[in-house]
Symmetry: D2
Subunit: 478 residues, 4 copies
């Protein structure tokens, strides 16, 4: 089934409990902190529904293309295409759009045996997600505070990190906190799990399961919503529509039926389900494609800013623009390479080249800050020349002065301000600040990304290069 | 005379015309966009008045120490001390505090002959500033748009950049736009001039003069004021009090009496007054000291953040902290070096070592983004775990959950959130975004800073090192 | 025809004039400055001859695969494969191996119309090269000194840069200097041309032609040959065999028959032949593949060095190794992407994706120094602990001490020294120093590479991203 | 006593055992691998002797200024001056010139109580060094291999790292290897100790003592000496004279009398003697000053290279030069700052500001590679245009061609080649490669330098900045 946008919005009016500080949100689809974000998500559903290239048929039913378990390179391309379409709509500013966690689950459904006794649950959950066109997000990290369980035990306090507190025939009961459910406010279900290694003894925390956002006992604690603080669409066009939100997930005795449990009492497996299946790779291929769309917005803005002052005629600026274009193309090439050198894995399926995917992920994590910094250099101090807001156009005298004095040979005053405000929303607003922070951690801290790269590297092959070379000569004769 | 803080606030209620978009501000000292910024400025005056070390006596009158024309190293140290005191109050977040432009003018008053026929004006203006304890700011750049005067002439439009449109016995009449009067909202007077080279033909634009902020025909067009958008002091403690504001200065037939004119019809001199006097060096020594105070806040935050999660016990994190401390000390050393190797210039006076000052300026411009980026790495994703705002403490149930689940062994929930919010206001808020942009341009684009360094470098000495070495050997004999 | 290695060596004994300083080299295949380099080149010919996958058949003849004008993706892959095979043999240390300039000429032969009246010459030269299995190199830059022709004219001196000094029925006569004929000592022919834009008036310098290395009047002035200074293969295994050499080409009244002239008296065309044909892209795809082979040696060395001291068990070192692997994979992905998104250009042919190729080139140019620097960090001071040379093994007492004291739990003393010496030859020897310099300039200075990227970028598409976004909202209503 | 240069050379003919591979060196002052290095060291002694400003008098005797225990800022300045004079002679290329270890010992002699029972030995050794004008070097690191003592014990092999193997009334007997005695070939005595922390159980390795280079049982194993491989002074002017050499020190049952033992059987103290006295700071202040002299050569070369092609007229190149000058001035300022903010420590003495010293050390360690890389960019490919060697001037025909074709409007051919060869010896020769490696490790790996910075930082002060700020506001009222 392919949901429409309005169906998706309707599905969010489900009694979910969302807090902004102490304010309880009644309806996320109409609340001024979330309504435009919700619409952006809904638009994805409408786009998908309208373009058959973004879905596929299986057993007579149609599913969103990000649920496709690829058996051919064409299938992989189809996956890349839907990620591109979604990322293009949001300019790469939605890290956890509906295609992210769905790709994880789809990848896992290609190798469900890994789940041992829970493999049927996983398969059924995959069927459920695609059939209902579920928007799933995840909360797969313990709260920062949870590193020191003894502290809590000594003081007789609840350990904050989410864990199973009871098991019975119906299922498990979970309590505690999990972070960081980006997009949860706009989603249907939350995948709860552990992307980082657990200690072997953290058995109760190893639970991996799915819960509806409106499940009794679930509350979402939103970080400051930036959309609410955007004075207008003109001032903050990106904040206005693309604040995907982040929430802490708090569970108080939430009951999860067995059929939604995928790992239990197995600290090693809790992590391995992602990397022993294409789950992690499918999910993070979306991250690569998403970042690429952002690069295109960045390159476009860089060039438009240069044109706004005529700086595009300056050789040194053209070199800078050429470099921006080279960076965009580098990532584009790394994505294409993942298709070209796709892996036959697991048996009968295709996976994007994992080493290339992690290489691209590392590149994104390493490069984002300095790319934005280069855009800052191009932008210069011009942004601070702009009036506080565009209401200057509502006063006849100010309007006339503004249009006269703020225009350039290249651009009218309003268009110039519009361009600068857009750029600022990518560079300098609080929304931009969150992206600068988050691009460092979307895929885990940089050392985590590099550890993935380490794990997948063919070390024997690399050693052989050196050994073969050294094997051809010895100690020279006396 | 040393003004009190309340006297300074009173002086700002002078009928000045300030726009926030189309809104005309009645009183900057009470308006929610500016009141706390105004108080921060006033606090500087109170602090100065209370500590005799921050002022000096000449001819029986007391003046703020930043008006001191240094004749000894002790005098220079006194200057450095007042900059440190002011920067410590504002953690280096006020780039154009009252000691910045005053230092320019003081430096110029040490070599007034450079001003040729206007030298008496300059000396009198210096006397006026220090006697009235004037808070002066400057607008010394043309609007970005003004690079192409032909465009305007062909279309019969006013060229936007400020220029003299009339001269008579009383003085000059100026019209046009000048950027970027940081702090003007809180200041008494604006120094108008040209810090960048003009074309030799830009005679009418070469005017350098001082105008009161409330002069008839002067309007300030503020960029978006961040203070107004800070939900509370707890959420944005820095935005709340240290938004120094930026404004475009618009002049419509503003009359400037001859006694306030310092350069006229001399495109070369308009620029040289800053660098042929200690003006530029005195002013930018303040920039060095200001940045150093910011470094101390950064190092303190880095360490507190590490302590908040116990990460300070991790060797790799200690190395990072050691590096932060090394960066702070590097700048501290560069400032101390300016005193140690002070110059005897101009005759009878002392100036900070100019090469060292520009070296420090280059270091700040080059390093700021990556220093903040290193702080981002330390902060991690923890900031997004925090509730949207501290109102969670106003609801009994939420308060209890928050205090229980958000605490760490190292820190209570409220203290932790307070620390993260403070860090975020330096890293991720819009106020932070403006600083990331502005530190690149406070002293002009990086190439401008390096050109200053080029100009002051002893190239003959450097060449001699090479020549002497090469002079000791020749072509080997056959 | 596919030459054997010994045939190629034989072809180098042709009377060519090569100078090392004032020493005239009799036979480059036996001279201690060049003999091992010559053998490395010969080995490429033997490898090619032995593996049918590295050649192709056309009209009943077999040619080296780098002469293949690709009509399908499989053809392109075949090209990539031979580059990989050659680069693997030399670990990416031969920038101008026989597949480099051949690829240029092959690319040009896919669109010979660009050559206007000389198109038949170009086609015939391509036939000649592949039929004779010619090793061609190029000299396509003016000497640095030649920027200021007036200087020479005023002083009545010959302008140094190569130019046509006479034309007659037989052809053109050329005189002057051209740089930098890397590999020429080991090659058969030199392509002379202009890779950088000429002034429109530099008509006589615009000559593009091919000359045999042993043509009367041609002399090669070699830079210091490093092979000669390598004490032994054990000390400098890379210098020993992979010094590809660089030479200035000096022509004194060299006669070039018309059939070997490809551009004459056309300053614009002289440059455009490379970029209006796949020449530049085919040639520099080889550069990408070559660098990738070097990356594999680097990653292998990094890991072996870490293992030599047991540092590979340290998490921070594993992260560093993971990053090295990610960099290797990033370039691998960028190369694969060039195949995946190959272009249908020119009509009937296939070309590697040009934007991706330039992106990879930019990545290599930007990254090489810091990659080697990271390897330096890993290597530490251990290299300087090694004895001056391996002759310590020739003295019984020293041998015993060396084997006892220099071993580690991980590695015997000799193996350890062998590994460190190899690494040093990539990092610290003069051969390494030349690579550090040359990787910055192999494809021209970084601004040149970025200008290529600028030229090929789809700016309208990038602008459209911004325009479409800005088109969806306007000034908010009053 | 102040030794003359020839006295110093004479002192090196003392029967010392130095190996180059298996070659035993008879006389380091005449051997082609060391003779010019020896002369450079001797020249330092002659310079010192000739300039009274470089020595001081105490109790009627004259001593080299680097033995001065500073009691005033003027004393500190005198120390800085002699470092500058020595570094200027060698352009900062001698890391372990005679003023390095002497400064360590002098610093230790300012707080000898730290040495507990051995304090008199230390004082007497200081007296001995300055009275005999001893050139001391040090070997204060264990061999890399020594990290895993169990390996050796299990296999019944001698543990490689130097240790006491016997104690008796006369003193201790030491056996084993210590690294890395830079300069030892040219020195009189070797300080043996432990600059890195030992495990508390490494009692026998904790020995700290001084041994003459010619002590029975001491052998020096030199790394490859670069001087020997320099074809001529013209080709490698820096290698020719400034290869300070590195050696492994091998001790076989070397007897050290008690009066030359400074630490024994105390693993903690072995390290603390450097940092609980001004030893480490005095020694590394020399490192700062030394690097500064190198910066001056670099800046001079950068400018000369730009002038050699006329590139100094290009604005972008001037910016680059301005940046080089800013870097040189930054370090100059950091050195001056260490004097300005000197510490009163230990009681009655003066020490350079330690935090600033470590900040400068960190700056040097972090910056060297990228500074040299920037010089590479400036140099371009021009170096490879040069003939293999200057013997072209010995052949009339080649000489004429060389002078004609290699000259530029700015520079004659020989002068141009001379300049490029000099630059190459700083950037690309093997000597340069060793410097690129060594600047990373002269003061220990970067994390070690940062740990010093961490140790000396006033964390409470930094925390107070944050705490005071956070103390001024709380949770806003409901």
């Amino acid at each position: 089934m392919l949901k429409s946008g309005s169906e998706h919005l309707e599905s969010l009016r489900d009694g979910r409990v969302v807090y902004i500080g102490s304010e309880k949100v009644d309806d996320v689809t109409t609340h001024p902190a979330f309504r435009n974000g919700a619409r952006s998500m809904a638009a994805i559903y409408d786009m998908k529904g309208a373009d058959p290239a973004l879905s596929f048929e299986e057993n007579g039913e149609r599913f969103s293309a990000y649920f496709l378990r690829a058996r051919t390179k064409e299938d992989l391309s189809k996956r890349t295409s839907i990620h591109k379409a979604i990322a293009a709509m949001s300019h790469g500013l939605l890290g956890r759009s509906p295609d992210h966690v769905s790709s994880f689950v789809t990848g896992m459904a290609m190798n469900p045996e890994v789940f041992k006794g829970f493999s049927e649950n996983l398969k059924r959950y995959y069927e459920h997600m695609r059939r209902e066109d579920v928007y799933g997000v995840y909360a797969v990290l313990p709260p920062q505070a949870a590193r020191n369980p003894e502290f809590y035990q000594t003081r007789n306090l609840p350990v904050p990190s989410l864990r199973v507190v009871k098991e019975d025939d119906a299922g498990v009961t979970i309590t505690g906190m999990k972070m960081l459910a980006t997009g949860a406010v706009f989603a249907n279900e939350i995948w709860i799990g552990n992307l980082l290694p657990l200690a072997p003894t953290q058995l109760h925390e190893s639970v991996t399961c799915a819960v509806p956002v409106n499940a009794p006992g679930v509350t979402l604690w939103s970080r400051k919503p930036f959309e609410r603080h955007a004075p207008s669409e003109f001032e903050n066009p990106l904040t206005w529509r693309f604040d995907e939100t982040d929430s802490m997930v708090m569970c108080e005795n939430v009951k999860v039926p067995w059929e939604r449990v995928f790992v239990n009492m197995d600290a090693i497996l809790a992590r391995e389900i992602y990397i022993r299946t294409p789950g992690h790779c499918y999910g993070n291929h979306q991250s690569n494609v998403r970042f690429h769309a952002k690069m295109q917005l960045i390159v476009g803005l860089a060039s438009k800013i240069a044109h706004a002052s005529g700086a595009n005629e300056v050789p040194a600026v053209r070199e800078v623009l050429g470099r921006f274009a080279a960076l965009e193309a580098a990532l584009g090439a790394m994505i294409a390479g993942q298709l070209h050198d796709a892996e036959d894995w697991p048996a009968g399926f295709k996976c994007f080249n994992r080493r290339y995917m992690y290489a691209a992920l590392n590149w994104c994590t390493e490069s984002h800050s300095s790319i934005i910094d280069a855009l800052r250099e191009l932008l210069g101090g011009g942004i601070f020349q702009m009036p506080a807001d565009i209401t200057v156009m509502h006063d006849a005298k100010l309007k006339q002065m503004f249009e006269t004095y703020w225009q350039t040979p290249q651009l009218g005053a309003v268009e110039r301000m519009k361009l600068y405000k857009l750029a600022w929303d990518l560079i300098g607003s609080e929304f931009a600040g969150r992206h600068l922070q988050y691009e460092k951690f979307y895929a885990g801290a940089s050392f985590i990304v590099r550890n993935h790269s380490f794990r997948e590297a063919p070390w024997e092959g690399f050693h052989k290069v050196v050994d073969d070379l050294m094997g051809t000569y010895g100690i020279p004769a006396h």
